[in-house]
């Protein structure tokens, strides 16, 4: 067996099961690795001397006394999480979209009587195209900023990405709703891109607010590896073309959608 790495030895010390028997056998016969493990253990043993003060036998009772008067506030019920401001905003946006689509549909029906008139379904699609296009534009902007983010000064330990995180959180709610709508409309291609975008947004939203340059680089690599920026741009462009097209939107079973789904 080759000499174990420092990572292997730390894992071994922390009780990791992977290759444990193999490592035990190796350590028994390799003085160099045993010494290396002992050096790691010496540091950890020294750290173990940083003791925790005993809060006292009655600590639990004291904590209860301190918090009991503050427990009168009502507990959050399961449905209350649904009325968080952020969620409400996303639902509001989609509700506004549906109402706009509905009204636009009715309006169009009354005025346009010629052969080029848009059906309510097409109007709804068009409104969605505009909204999703806008969402993709905002997502693209956030991803570009994050991809180009770097420490302000050389040697800076942490980079603050909290602004991008907040935007990712907001975009996440919208993205879920658009993805579901795309799926319902049978636009698997758009749904797939939105699904990938959702993973990236989740990744960003769940990253620490302050990341080390290495962590930032890892996030940027993950964004690059998925090619999400390219996909968002392509779909965004496609949606923009649809918006600008003078002719009515293609029917739900139109060949370009099928083509994208296939791709």
């Amino acid at each position: 067996m080759k000499h174990p790495t420092e990572e292997d030895l730390i894992g071994y010390h922390e009780g990791e099961g992977l290759r444990r028997d193999e490592l035990t056998t190796h350590l028994a016969g390799c003085e160099e690795c045993r010494a290396e493990l002992q050096r790691i253990e010496a540091v950890l043993k020294a750290l173990d001397t940083l003791s925790v003060p005993d809060p006292g036998e009655d600590y639990g009772r004291r904590v209860w006394q301190q918090i009991a008067p503050r427990l009168s506030e009502k507990r959050t019920r399961w449905w209350e999480s649904w009325i968080e401001p952020r969620r409400l905003a996303a639902f509001g946006a989609v509700a506004a979209l549906i109402i706009a689509a509905f009204l636009a549909g009715r309006f169009t029906k009354r005025r346009d009587t010629g052969p080029e008139a848009l059906s309510p379904v097409q109007v709804r699609e068009r409104v969605l195209v505009v909204a999703v296009g806008d969402h993709l534009g905002k997502s693209e902007m956030m991803l570009v900023e994050l991809s180009n983010a770097e420490p302000l000064q050389a040697g800076q330990k942490e980079v603050n990405i909290s602004a991008e995180q907040r935007r990712a959180e907001d975009l996440l709610e919208e993205n879920r709703l658009y993805r579901q709508t795309a799926l319902q409309d049978g636009d698997a291609g758009l749904a797939s891109v939105l699904d990938e975008l959702e993973r990236v947004l989740l990744d960003v939203a769940h990253s620490p607010q302050e990341v080390t340059p290495a962590q930032l680089e890892a996030i940027q690599e993950r964004i690059a590896a998925r090619g999400i920026l390219f996909k968002v741009r392509v779909v965004g462009k496609e949606l923009q073309q649809k918006q600008e097209a003078p002719k009515p939107l293609p029917a739900p079973n139109d060949p370009t959608k099928k083509e994208r789904n296939k791709a």
């Binding site: 420092e6 990572e7 730390i10 894992g11 010390h13 922390e14 990791e16 050096r39 790691i40 010496a42 540091v43 950890l44 020294a46 750290l47 173990d48 001397t49 940083l50 003791s51 925790v52 003060p53 809060p55 600590y59 639990g60 009772r61 904590v63 209860w64 301190q66 918090i67 009991a68 503050r70 427990l71 506030e73 507990r75 959050t76 019920r77 399961w78 999480s81 942490e158 769940h206 620490p208 607010q209 302050e210 080390t212 962590q215």
Partner: protein
């Protein structure tokens, strides 16, 4: 994970009953949970935030949040682990805010004496407290505190939960909202950094002790 006098199964059952009763409106049932888990949550919090005052605030806030979110607690889960997670998350947020404030005030990061009631290294049985040894002990303790403070929040949390609290990788991953492999890497990075920062001092101390024994 946690040292408990009662068996893990009976604690879990009793916790589940207390949770049920609290949800049914019996506020005092929550007291059982607070009294049972406070010590463990304090230990974790102290190791994360590094001083007693902040640790006590983390404990209180963790139980308040647990109470408010109790309806989101899944009955089959372990209350101890759940409140642990709430405490760790709150401690991480708190440390972030403090670090930002410290950076603004340009205060020194290290605070070596706060909250430590006695020099833990003075309890090591291998050495008589000669002035030299005491100085080295204080110096090493300072370095250890500095090394822990130099870790990122995720690294410190991962190290504390894994090394001192004996938590499983999955459990730590849930707190860090990460996956198992990334969490294992975080633990590794933490130990590696601590080693780089402390090994020279640990070695010096060992050599000094050896020389002291010889003389």
């Amino acid at each position: 994970m946690m040292q408990m006098k009662e068996s893990a199964e009976s604690v879990r059952e009793s916790d589940a009953i207390a949770v049920e009763r609290t949800l049914a409106g019996d506020r005092d049932a929550f007291r059982v949970l607070v009294e049972r888990h406070s010590q463990n949550v304090f230990r974790l919090s102290y190791r994360l935030v590094g001083n007693r005052h902040d640790a006590e605030e983390v404990v209180q806030e963790a139980f308040l949040r647990a109470y408010q979110k109790l309806s989101q607690f899944e009955a089959r889960s372990n209350f101890g682990t759940w409140v642990y997670r709430i405490a760790a998350n709150y401690a991480i947020d708190r440390m972030r805010k403090q670090r930002k404030e410290e950076a603004r005030r340009e205060m020194p990061i290290v605070n070596t004496n706060e909250g430590i009631e006695q020099d833990p290294l003075s309890t090591i049985a291998d050495a008589a407290p000669t002035p030299e040894r005491l100085t080295q002990s204080i110096e090493l303790r300072k370095k250890m505190q500095e090394a822990l403070d130099a870790l990122t929040h995720a690294e410190r949390t991962a190290f504390v939960m894994r090394h001192w609290e004996g938590c499983g990788i999955e459990e730590i991953a849930a707190v860090l909202e990460s996956n198992s492999n990334a969490t294992k890497n975080t633990v590794f990075r933490a130990v590696q950094k601590l080693r780089r920062m402390l090994e020279p001092f640990v070695e010096t101390r060992k050599q000094a002790q050896a020389m002291g024994t010889e003389s």
